[in-house]
Symmetry: C2
Subunit: 213 residues, 2 copies
DNA sequence: CCCCGGCTGCATCCTTCGATGTACCGCGGG
DNA sequence: CCCGCGGTACATCGAAGGATGCAGCCGGGG
């Protein structure tokens, strides 16, 4: 039995969703929420298998609610919306939603979507899948250019200094942050430049950026 | 009528796919290819609506073939594979595939997938959708942190210098690249630092990185 | 026409950076 | 024990960077 929490502010729509869900023998409506805050609260309380989440809701929008629920690992989230705006789709998926369905979906599709997500799989409305693919393809592949293994050659202190360099700090700034003399900072900078085969702190900063540190 | 080109090296599997496709009244098998090279050549010749593409094929693999077909805008590509390895999935999607289906799909699902892609929508096997979402979410959101509008305040020359800074070049290096005296480079660096409210070239380099310039 | 303001270019001066030499500490092996 | 080695720390000095002042150049008004 799949226990579902329905989060949708328009009561008529919510009633419709509940009706559809109840029509399935393997699905049970565990609760109903009329806004995002309630959705999070009820998810904590009821621990459903899945939350059917509308995007547009008062108090706390569906995307934010999704983020919280996923962060606390309370349940999987299937996001439901009328509009297939990119910001909704990408926002919801980045928030950790397991699926994204448009409201114009058939009742049958909705039930199938619930079962799919409950199985631990993912589901995207066909109409938005192509844009997701496009967006995905557009993003540059995680550049293997920046090789984290080079960091192994650095000592802990040197890594700390490199991190500071990535923030654009001056030697004086680093000295203050790491509580050492500026002269010492220079030593570390010099050594890490040598180990990484760089010629200036600027290149080190760029590298730190690429390595996200 | 949807015209489909089937690209699959194992003849038995290919025959099975053709049989399934022929069973649908709205789908026509326009041709069959036994490797990637053939697939590209036949796509050029037959101009099908859609190519059903296996990943593992001799001579030219399915991902590369997909890349070519999409680059030439010959047809949409629905990639088919036995294994849902990340490299296949992400590779195929980045190559421009419109859909990705596992071979364990039912005949009905296959036909539905063909129709979906032919409609211009996208389709991903549920089993791999979740990983696509995860991968998508893992990629850093195009950070709005770095605001491209600040660049409007810079002159063309200053933007060129900023770009060089982003590569970690020294003033001397920039002078050579842009063919001006080092003293002039310093002027531009100084001015752009002021306009961007930064305090060192390192911060400018970091900013240039974030803006991807 | 001339003037003005912004862009571009260069030179001067002081600050910061980076290379180098040295010293201290802790640790493992001869 | 003493030595060597790697990590950390600091001082010194030449080199690079950054601020500032100033000059030519162009385009739009007055």
């Amino acid at each position: 039995m799949i226990r579902v929490l329905v989060a949708e502010d328009q009561s008529a729509v919510r009633a419709g969703l509940v009706l559809i869900l109840r029509s399935a023998p393997d699905i049970e409506v565990a609760g109903e929420a009329a806004d995002g805050e309630q959705a999070v609260a009820l998810a904590r309380e009821l621990r459903p298998d899945l939350v059917l989440m509308d995007v547009q809701m008062p108090r706390l929008d569906g995307v934010s609610a999704t983020r919280r629920i996923v962060a606390e690992r309370l349940a999987d989230v299937l996001v439901l919306t009328t509009f297939d705006l990119d910001e909704y789709v990408f926002g919801a998926l980045r928030a950790g939603a397991s699926g994204f369905l448009l409201k114009n979906a058939e009742a049958r599709e909705l039930l199938e979507a619930v079962r799919t997500v409950a199985r631990g799989e993912g589901l995207i409305s066909p109409a938005v899948t192509r844009r997701l693919i496009a967006e995905f393809a557009a993003r540059p592949a995680r550049e293997p250019a920046a090789d984290p293994s080079v960091l192994d050659r650095l000592t802990r202190r040197e890594r700390e200094v490199l991190s500071c360099l990535g923030e654009g700090l001056s030697n004086a700034g680093i000295a203050e942050r790491l509580e050492m003399a500026e002269a010492t900072v220079k030593t570390h900078v010099s050594r890490l430049l040598g180990k990484l085969e760089l010629r200036s702190r600027v290149q080190a900063a760029v590298l730190a950026q690429e390595l996200r540190i």
